[in-house]
């Protein structure tokens, strides 16, 4: 794939963002390659009732 980019300047007015989190990017400009990976794990067994003992490792 061939791309020809002609940049004539970028003007940004107002931007409001709550949060940029977990491998995300807010970019005003050029980019060649972006690889963003995010893992999030909160399975049912991570919801523990009553047990205030140290967390046993998952085998």
């Amino acid at each position: 794939m061939n791309i020809e980019v002609h940049n004539w300047g970028i003007c940004v007015g107002n931007v409001g963002i709550e949060a940029v989190a977990s491998s995300s990017v807010f970019l005003i400009g050029d980019n060649k390659e972006m690889k963003l990976s995010s893992f999030f794990d909160t399975p049912p067994e991570s919801y523990i009732v009553g047990a205030l003992v140290p967390l046993a490792p998952q085998t």
Partner: protein, 113 residues
């Protein structure tokens, strides 16, 4: 800005932040100093990321006639977990964040009346 969050004005060639976190929410006012959770306990921190096997070959030609980037007002409240804010060019980004979330709730006392 926390946990390898980056704010950059200008050009960047390589940006590859990493972030690993275990978020334990414990009910009660007891501060946990035992630090009894470790990354190697949980498989999420060992899983390989899955990427595209054969990336598409791209040939790009840039013509910067006017290199001005003018930004009036940007309001951002949080930048966290291997995230990035960039005003300007950035060539290669390779970001990864891993979060394990655990909630520990106190047992409800059954009232005996």
């Amino acid at each position: 800005m926390t946990f390898s969050g980056i704010f950059n004005i200008g050009d960047t060639v390589n940006f590859s932040p990493r972030s690993k976190a275990i978020a334990v929410q414990r009910e009660g006012n007891v501060w946990n100093t035992s630090y009894d959770v470790h990354f190697h306990y949980y498989p999420i921190f060992q899983l390989p990321a899955k990427w595209i096997e054969k990336p598409i070959p791209v040939v790009s030609k840039n013509n910067h006639h006017d290199g001005i980037i003018s930004v009036n007002c940007v309001s951002i409240q949080a930048v966290t977990q291997a995230a990035g804010i960039q005003f300007g060019g950035i060539d290669y980004i390779n970001a990864e964040s891993r979060i394990k979330h655990i909630r520990i709730i106190k047992q409800e006392e059954e009232n005996m009346d």
